[in-house]
């Protein structure tokens, strides 16, 4: 079992309170996934040319100032860092290839969680309630967010194995379910040069879809192919810089419920995580049907 949550603010005032909406949802779904959690938040793009990189360090005392100083010295790219304990967001003109090359050439206990112009990702071990408090999720602002609470069934409990998974830029995916063919997907993708970071089944789905998008598919086209290629049980909630996208597999035995109003779109594994949202009693509430692609634009 795992829990998924998503929230898309359709009106400006709600964007300032994005964290306040998503945190009770995430905490509630802690009952479905108490071992680790993660959150991806999408905000408007930063100043021209800048990209955002989210990092996780195993050591809560990690020296992020030295980290950014060395990054700047080695890459000649200006960079700024905002750090809270294990987590930091680096803002820089450096492109993802530069960051990947720099990081892989050094023996740092640091994991790159996300790259893009609008995405920030947080992942950690522990109860979602504690993780939300540790990184002050309630203060987060943005257009939309995707969260996950994990009850691990098929690979280790670690921040790297927690969701959301990311691939490429400004794309993330959370998954409730289990895939039965992640290794065959992975072997096919690795032959095409796609690199994996964990042995988690969800990473295979995430990299498969991102690979299709790099080949020119829209996310929706990639998902149509995904229905053919991904074997197993899944409710997948994905986000790009301007979209939330939700699908369930043909069996649809992993839950999802959507509440939609003029103000917001809220998605969760269970209605009880939505029950306290303003105006939810008058929302259009529905359960997504199997193999249909639901997409909302921020």
């Amino acid at each position: 079992m795992c829990g998924i949550v998503g929230f898309l603010a359709r009106q400006e005032p709600l964007r300032k309170s994005l964290g306040e909406f998503i945190v009770p949802m995430l905490t509630c779904m802690g009952e479905r996934g108490p071992d680790s959690a993660g959150l991806a938040v999408f905000s408007g793009p930063p100043a021209d040319g800048l990209r955002r990189y989210s990092f996780y360090a195993r050591d809560r005392e990690f020296d992020w100032l030295t980290f950014v100083a060395e990054f700047t010295a080695d890459t000649d790219a200006n960079a700024e860092i905002e750090a809270v304990e294990s987590h930091a967001i680096l803002t820089s003109v450096a492109d993802p290839a530069t960051v990947h090359t720099w990081l892989s050439g050094r023996d740092l206990p640091v994991h790159l969680l996300s790259a893009g112009r609008t995405i920030d990702v947080y992942k950690d071990e522990g109860h979602p309630r504690d993780i939300a408090r540790r990184y002050s999720f309630t203060a987060l602002v943005g257009t939309h967010a995707v969260g996950h609470t994990r009850m691990a069934t098929e690979s280790a409990v670690s921040p790297a194995h927690a969701h959301p998974f990311t691939a490429g830029e400004d794309f993330c995916l959370v998954h409730n379910g289990s895939l039965s063919n992640p290794y065959s997907i992975r072997r096919r993708l690795e032959k095409k040069g796609v690199r994996f970071e964990t042995d988690n089944d969800t990473e295979a789905a995430c990299r498969f879809l991102e690979w299709r998008m790099r080949e020119g598919d829209s996310l929706e086209q990639a998902l149509e192919l995904g229905f053919e290629e991904l074997d197993g049980f899944y409710t997948l909630l994905m986000a790009t810089s301007d979209k939330l996208v939700l699908v369930r597999d043909a069996f649809a035995c992993k839950p999802a419920v959507v509440a939609e109003t003029d103000q917001y779109v809220a998605i969760s594994s269970e209605y009880r995580a939505l029950a306290h949202l303003p105006g939810v009693k008058d929302a259009r509430i529905f359960e997504p049907v199997p193999e249909q692609i639901y997409s909302w634009t921020a």
Binding site: A252, C253, P255, E270, Y271, R272, F286, V289, P290
Partner: protein
């Protein structure tokens, strides 16, 4: 007039509520009407009742609502999550909104009414209860259903009645595919009477014209060595 007891889940836990319904209420005797406020999608509300009371759940509720129900008449004024009225024994459970998966799963007796849609696996493994869905049902409904009646006023999803035993399904709308060993059969006079009677009990005195009967072809009842095992 029965006593009206109002119980607020914003002020008590589901466990406290259910203990009250299981122990205090029968001990007090006589009839009662129970209003349950602020269900807020919580699970296991009014599970395991065995008293002839009216229970109204005022809002959307979660999983396993009114599971194992005996005698009580439970109405949910909203949607429910998975497995509403699972293993119902007697009495009735009515959902004013939609029901998620596995509504009335394994139900042995009593009546379950879903006023809007029920999603996949409605009536899975039902063993004698009656189910009336005013809207449509999702895929794999009445899977391995053993006894009882499932009436669907709308459409039925793929794989309807897969591996059906002696339960009978009636569908008024489109059937998007029958499961293994389920087959459409002609409607006899008894079938119209059965549908009319059950619809009337559910509060829908409709004309029964247009209903189709789906029952087991019974070809899976015995193992056939020559069948190639391709179902």
């Amino acid at each position: 007039m029965d006593r009206l007891i109002s119980l607020d889940l914003a002020k008590m836990s589901v466990r406290e509520l259910n203990q009250l319904l299981h122990h205090d209420l029968p001990a007090q005797g006589a009839g009662a009407r129970i209003d349950i406020l602020n269900p807020n999608g919580m699970h296991n509300i009014a599970v395991g009742l065995d008293v002839p009371v009216e229970v109204d759940i005022r809002g959307h509720a979660g999983y396993f609502i009114a599971g194992m129900n005996k005698q009580a008449r439970v109405t949910v004024h909203g949607n429910v999550g998975w497995s509403v009225a699972e293993n119902i024994m007697s009495g009735s459970v009515r959902v004013k909104g939609c029901a998620s998966e596995c509504a009335a799963a394994s139900g042995r007796g009593g009546l379950v009414v879903i006023e809007q849609d029920a999603s996949s696996r409605c009536g899975i493994s039902m063993k004698g209860c009656d189910i009336v869905v005013r809207g449509s049902v999702g895929h794999m409904s009445a899977f391995m259903a053993q006894a009882g009646t499932l009436i669907v006023c709308g459409d039925a999803g793929a794989g309807l009645g897969d591996s059906l035993y002696e339960a009978v399904i009636y569908v008024r709308g489109t059937i998007h595919g029958l499961g293994a060993d389920a087959r459409e059969e002609p409607m006899a006079m008894e079938d119209h009477a059965r549908v009319a009677g059950l619809l009337a009990r559910a509060g829908y005195p409709d004309d029964t014209a247009g209903f189709k009967r789906v029952a087991s072809a019974r070809s899976l009842y015995h193992w056939h060595a020559d069948a190639g095992q391709e179902y």
